[in-house]
Structures are given as structure tokens and as C-alpha cells.
Symmetry: C2
Subunit: 494 residues, 2 copies
């Protein structure tokens, strides 16, 4: 077994360390020399690129176009929207100077004190303010609406405690910013995009999610309503995987963006914003992986199938590799991404462990006996099972197998979530569940920030969201005993 | 004629104003509220996305993978490579603080003086330092080499005078950073990538370029050799469209990156870096466009063909649009990107002007008579010519026409460059050409920075590069009279 693999901490031993080990050892990302900023390594970035491509296609299919806005935001912009300033103008990277000079004492470079900016610039933590300041010039009439723009960008939030992918000072994301003539249209957009996220996370990442409204205290700073998708990780903690905000007319008012309606009336524009980030990488890793390494859903795996020869001597290596190359060609013709690993300086056991660690969904192996018999070993990463079958019709078989694996990974995650979602009616039970079998807890809530706060302080569990499809059910709040008409989703979270 | 178009300054009147008008009015980009930073608008970004996709495919076809490194670089990193510090640690955005707070006086937010960073962070102007600091941990043995990594990112250089796309404080680019075991391999990579750039700029952007070595004074700070591609704009000025640097062992030594060779010897790693940026958008616009607006090469045009009905009354509009939709479907099936513009609230003359302004390569128009006769008007943006032809076999015809247009635009630019490239042998002639018929000037140079400097100061012309395919030719320097063995490429430049 490969050395790297031996060093992977097990989930049971230390879940948090297992996650970090996995991210680093599978070559996804690592910490950089800059506090809180990560390096996304080629293998991790290849997965992110697949995510980007799929999401971008979905955005375009729903009528959106991409654009790019400045990295820097003048400090004063944050003060324009009252709630936004409290939410975002806090832990930020602040640019105060625009020049370095040689240190007069001769030791390296120092900041040139004469090159101080008149107004400090903030490295964007999110772009509502700079974008609405821009939209002001783009929108005069109803004919200019809707504006359906998305941006792929880096953003910076000066987090004190960071974790690779899950919480980093700089991260990559997309942020959609749309402008509409009516409240109704903006609300529909908010809902449309959270459903696009659900579609992507479930059907590409194979992670089931619950759509719901955030409680007022967890809402985006400046939003009238925030919809989120919430996923459950293997340690029973929730992870917010994406959000879509109905911003009302708040930013239009803050930046004075009005339009003339068809009827000639002047009104403020309605807004939405929505985003997902490299945090999704964290969700992908944590939802499916095991003690052998990553488990990647085939639709996002940079390499879907690896082909490995087992051989004695150069002649066999050549023969078997030639056969594997043929099979690889057939798979490529079906649109499958494959890799033939014919390295002769590492043992096949090392290769097996390496591709398990990297989460390659299917491994195909031909040994000397297979070569003679026209058979091949097919191993699945998700179930760690293997079978020997005929080489005939293999490409089609593997193509279908990838679909099965995609579905199986999703079903497994769904089953886990269902087994870790419980309804509770008393606070004692609530606390016991969180300690003993952590996961999603559905409980009644009286809708007040007070009980929400108390529960958070006492149990570290928060309201993840108020599910949009929660059925009507009469009940009472666990703590206050006040009436409630539907259950909300609680969990401890990332 | 549309209002926007009337307001487009002509090239002859004011070239610089024409360029700026065009960028803004065609919806490519605009200045933002942040000094020197632009907003890339959806139409401009759509072209950039096409560039990115084509380049990214070319990088991957030559064995490169993408990764992502931090936006911020610790100030001290710049001091590690002696020349690099002079070149890049000057006009930079400097992050000094990580927190804002409410102004005690109650007016907005201010920088929290307690949140000063121990070491300032520089917003990357280029990433050699942070990347080689990272490579240090990735490279131990010859087995870890080569590293062929590219990054798509934003960078910031605090330029004093900015122009949309051509020179902005923040811009988007890709930067390749490769590590090799041998000097020869790194030199080959440097050459390979400048040829990839040439291929892209010539075959996608339809702009001919000249590959050559930069003179020592124009070299990238920290490079042993810089290769560039130089294009000629319609005003006779040169534009450096891309660079590829052979960095020797300079960054490996600065960041102590050594590897053990196959023979067990320890040696420093050899490096290259190469990049192109949103500046290419400026080259694309300036190389081909005219007083009617943009002229886009079909391979980069977001919309390649626009279809417009001319009609009287709703019935005709419906009939003709239905026919146009059929044709659009046939074109889409051939992989052509099309748009049917059946808006009934703007006149067709307005539409014609709008798509001319936006540089859509082909316009197809069906009027009532065409509808009856089975004919269609085909108009080319590049030549501004039109013809009426049968609707039969139209899709194939248009598909081929797009290839012809791509080629014609390139040939036109090539012809322009050839007509504006002259050999001169005396300094008087040199100065006269620059004043009267500006363009590329091929002249002998004695290879010293002194004459280079003198020419630059007296004429504003610089050595664009020393063409790699310049034939051996004995001559003498225009100024010093010292011997020279080949001509170098001079021009005034962007």
C-alpha cells in the first residue's frame, strides 16, 4: 500500500484531520505562504473547472451572460446600504497605498508614505455595491430590464479561522446580480437560481440538498429574503452549499437606480444576487469520500477511468498496454475521460492506492491471464468491489457503469441524510440527538430571534433553513411553547 | 442611422477618441468608479470568453494544466529576486489593514488602526514569486519535473495613465509558470509558447504578428530572455500582444528550488513564464475596426450571423421571421452562432447600424420581395458589400463565407502591415518614416543600450523586438556606424 495512503487519518479517528489530510494528499489544495489563502493545485482545479463549466452552461441556458467588475470597491460604497455595511465592511483586506519604494536604509522595499490613497479601497468581499453603482448608468427604462449578469471572480473575507476550501480568506466564486422591473420577477429569479443550484449539486455533485428560506438573523446583509441549499456531511454537520437572495429595492435605493416603466412612471429597480464558491469543493469531498481517499462522482471526475496493466517483463507490458490503449480509444469515442498508466517504475499496488486516493471512479486492469482469456477486471471506487468480465462490449458497459456509479453515490448520500434527519418535539430530545446521532433535526420554532439565539448558544445548532416544501403541521416551539405551523431545519454546521 | 453610430468619432479625426468611443458604444467595456479599473461589459466579456476557451484548449493540447495561486504576495517576496524587485515592486496596490470599523464620530466606516498587518501584502502584479515559493515544496526530484502550470487570474499594476483594455490598473490574464530539469527544455518551452500565442493571434484574432527577442532593456524583470509577438495597429503603432520568458535559474535560486537529477546530483530548476491579457481585446478592436464600428473575425464573434426581417405589418413579420428561424436552425446545426432579431419596436435601419457597430460578420435580410422569390440579402461586415442570392444551399454558403471573412480580415491586416513596414538605413530616413508613414521600421542596430536609448528619447520609437527569422545581413548602426548583422524591428508603440 502506498505511503501517502498509510498516512491518511481515518474519519473515525479525527474527522477534521481526515478532511485536511485528504485535501492535501489527493493533491487538491494546500495552504500558501499567505495567511488564510490557499493554493488550488492542478487536480483540485481540474474538478473546479468541471464545476464551473457545468454551472456556466446552466446560467447561460437560463438567459444569463457573464461580465467583469473591479476587484476594488471604494470604502464609502459600503456605507450606502445600511445593513450591508454591518455585514460586509468588517473583516476586509484594505488597500491604503499604491506604491513601494526602496528602503532608504537599504534593506528591501517599504511602502512609500507619499503614495497614500485619498480613499481606501476594499478588496471585494462581494460585489453588490460596485455593481449597483454601475447599473445606475445602464438602466433608464423598462427596455433596459431585466439585466441578467453573472461574474466569475475571486473575493476576500478576512476570516480568522480558515480551512481549505471551506473557509479561506480568498476564494473563487460566481456571483449573479440581476435587475428587474417588478418585485414578482425578482422573486421568480431568486427561486429559479436556487433551483439551478439544487439541480447542479444533486445531479453533478451527487449531494442531496434541502431548499429553504434563511431565518432573518442568517439572511444576507441587505437582502429581504435569502434562499439556501443545505447539504449534510458525513459527520452529521450541515454545509450551506449556495444562496440566492431577493434584495428587494434596497440596493437600487442605496445607489439611486430608477427606471421609467412602460406607463411612464419612475420606480426603483428590483434586485437579486446569488452565489456558489470553491466551498462546493469542500462539500464534494466531505459528502462522499472514505478512509481510502476521495470518491468522485463520474460527472465531475477529471479522469473517469484509469487502465492499468499487470505484467512480467517488457514484452508483456507492451502487449497488455497495446490492448488497454485500444480499450481507452473506444472509451474516449464514447466521451469518457481515460488514462492509461503504463509507468514501469512504480508497482501496480502503488498505482491502485494512488487512484483510490484520487477518487477515480473506475479502474480497469488486465493481467497476463486476462490477456489470454480476453477478460478484464473492473473495479468500482464507490463500492470498492470488483469483477472480472469479458473485454467484449466493455466500453458500453463502462459507460453505463459510470451512470450507475453517479446514481449510487447520490443514493448513498441521500440514504445517509434520511437516516440522519429526525423530527423532535422536546428540547431534551433535541439536545440528545445532536450529541448522540448528529444530523438534521426538524423541530417546531416560534419564529422569534430569541429562541433561535438561545438554541444556538446552548447547543451550537442553528436554523439551517425553513424548507420551502415543509408541510403544514401544527405544533409548539420546543422552548417557548408558542404555536408553530411547520418544522424548520436545525443542525450544527460548517 | 442609429444615434450611437453618429456619435462615433472617425479614425481620421481622432484615432484615440475613435478607439475609446468604439469600446464604450459597442458595449465592450467602460471605466468604473475605481480609478484605472474597467468594467468589462457582457459583449466584451463574451469575446474574452471565446479567447480564453481557444487559448485554454491550446495550452491543454501542449500538456499544461490550470491551478490557482493567492491574490496576495508578502512584500518581502519581491526583494528575493534582484531585478524583479525593480521591475514590479513599484506601482502596486498595497494591503496594510484587514479590518474596518464604524467611525467613532458616526460618519460611515474607517480603517481600524489596530488591524494593521505585520507584513504588508501586495496585490499580485505577476505571480513568479508566490508560485516559485510554492514550487519549492513541489519539487524534490527530476521525477517531479516538468511542472507545466497555467493560471487564469486578475492582476493589478498601478498605472498612472490608463486606457480601456490597453492599459488598466486591474486586468485579466493568464500566466503560465513552468519548471524544467534542463536549460534546453526551458528554452524549448519558451519558444513553444510564443508560437502558441502567434498561432492564436493570427488564426483566431486574424492579426499577423512578428516573433522576436526583446532587447535587454525591454526584457521582463528577472528573465534571461523575453520573446514577444508584435502586432501593427491601423495608426501605425505597434502593440505587444504577448510575451514568453526564459527565466533561467533566477527564480529557482531566489526561492531555493533544487532537484535531484537522475544521476543523483543537486541542481537548480529552470523556469519559464508566459502571458497574454485582456490587452488582446485592444489589439483585436484596433487592428480591424472601421468608422462604422467593430469588425470581428468570425472565430471570435459571439454572434456570427444576424438575421433581420423587413416587413410591413404583423402578418409579414410572422411569415418572414418563421422563414428566418428555419434558416437560423440550419446554421446552428452547422455550428454557427446566430441571432434572429424580430424586434418590432425598432426600425431595420437602426438594427443594421447596431450590428455593424457590434461587428457581427454576416447579416442576412429577407424582405417581402425576397420572401416571394426565395431570395435573401447577404451582407458582409468586413467589406460592407452585399449580394442577393437564392435561399437554397444558404447555410453551407454562409458557413464557407465565414471562413472567407476570417481569411480576408487576416489578409487585409497582413497587407496593411506589409505596406507599413520599411527598411531604412539612415537616421534621417528613420525619423521621416516615423513622422510621415508610421509603422514598423527595420533598421540596423549596434546592440548597445546607448543607441537604443538615444533613439527612444529622440523619436519615441523603441526596439519592438529582434525578429527570430531576420535574415543575416551586414550593415551598420544608423547612429554609431558600428557593424550589425541583422535588422531589428522599431516602432512607436502602445
Amino acid at each position: 500500500m502506498a505511503k501517502e495512503l498509510k498516512e491518511l487519518t481515518s474519519r473515525e479517528e479525527n474527522y477534521s484531520q481526515w478532511y485536511n489530510d485528504l485535501v492535501v494528499k489527493a493533491g487538491l489544495a494546500e495552504n500558501s505562504a499567505v495567511r488564510g489563502c490557499m493554493v488550488i493545485k492542478p487536480y483540485g482545479y481540474a474538478i473546479w473547472e468541471k464545476m464551473q463549466r457545468a454551472l456556466d452552461d446552466m446560467f447561460k441556458a437560463t438567459g444569463h451572460v457573464n461580465a467583469y467588475f473591479p476587484l476594488f470597491i471604494p470604502k464609502s460604497f459600503f456605507s450606502k446600504e445600511a445593513k450591508h455595511v454591518d455585514g460586509f465592511a468588517k473583516e476586509c483586506a484594505v488597500v491604503t497605498h499604491y506604491r513601494l519604494m526602496n528602503d532608504p536604509s537599504g534593506s528591501g522595499v517599504v511602502v512609500d508614505p507619499d503614495a497614500r490613497l485619498e480613499e481606501e479601497l476594499i478588496v471585494r468581499p462581494t460585489s453588490e455595491t460596485i455593481i449597483w453603482n454601475t447599473y445606475k448608468n445602464w438602466i433608464q427604462s423598462y427596455r433596459d430590464l431585466p439585466i441578467l449578469v453573472n461574474q466569475w471572480a475571486n473575493v476576500v473575507r478576512w476570516e480568522m479561522r480558515t480551512r481549505l476550501f471551506l473557509r479561506t480568506a480568498e476564494f473563487l466564486w460566481q456571483e449573479g446580480h440581476t435587475a428587474h422591473a417588478t418585485r414578482q420577477e425578482a422573486i421568480e429569479e431568486t427561486e429559479r437560481m436556487v433551483r439551478v443550484y439544487q439541480d447542479f449539486v444533486q445531479n453533478w455533485m451527487a449531494v442531496p440538498v434541502i431548499i429553504g428560506h434563511k431565518s432573518e438573523s442568517e439572511r444576507f446583509a441587505g437582502a429581504e429574503d435569502t434562499l439556501s441549499i443545505e447539504a449534510l456531511m458525513q459527520d452529521g454537520k450541515a454545509l450551506q452549499a449556495g444562496t440566492s437572495h431577493f434584495l428587494g429595492q434596497n440596493f437600487a435605493k442605496a445607489f439611486d437606480v430608477q427606471y421609467t416603466s412602460r406607463e411612464g412612471q419612475l420606480d426603483y429597480v428590483w434586485a437579486t444576487s446569488w452565489g456558489v464558491s470553491t466551498r462546493l469543493m469542500g462539500a464534494l469531498i466531505m459528502a462522499h469520500s472514505d478512509n481510502n481517499g476521495l470518491v468522485l462522482p463520474p460527472r465531475l471526475a477529471p479522469t473517469q477511468v484509469v487502465l492499468i496493466p499487470i505484467y512480467k517483463g517488457d514484452e508483456q507490458l507492451k502487449q497488455i498496454t497495446a490492448r488497454l490503449d485500444e480499450i481507452a480509444g473506444e472509451l474516449r469515442a464514447l466521451g469518457v475521460s481515460v488514462k492509461v498508466d503504463d509507468r514501469d517504475n512504480v508497482r501496480s499496488g502503488f498505482k491502485f492506492a494512488e487512484y483510490e486516493l484520487k477518487g477515480v471512479p473506475v479502474r480497469l486492469v488486465i493481467g497476463p491471464r486476462d490477456f489470454e482469456n480476453g477478460t478484464i477486471e473492473v473495479a468500482r471506487r464507490d463500492t470498492l468491489t470488483k469483477e472480472v468480465r469479458s473485454q467484449e462490449g466493455l466500453a458500453e458497459y463502462v459507460k453505463n457503469l459510470l451512470d450507475d456509479i453517479q446514481d449510487n453515490i447520490y443514493q448513498k448520500a441521500l440514504k445517509f441524510r434520511e437516516e440522519h434527519t429526525v423530527k423532535v418535539d422536546t428540547y431534551d430530545e433535541f439536545k440528545r440527538v445532536l450529541e448522540e446521532t448528529p444530523g438534521f433535526v426538524l423541530a417546531h420554532w416560534d419564529g422569534t430571534p430569541e429562541t433561535e439565539e438561545q438554541i444556538k448558544n446552548e447547543t451550537k445548532a442553528t436554523i439551517r433553513n425553513i424548507p420551502v416544501d415543509a408541510p403544514y403541521e401544527e405544533g409548539v416551539d420546543m422552548i417557548s411553547g408558542k404555536p408553530s405551523t411547520r418544522r424548520v431545519l436545525f443542525a450544527r454546521s460548517y
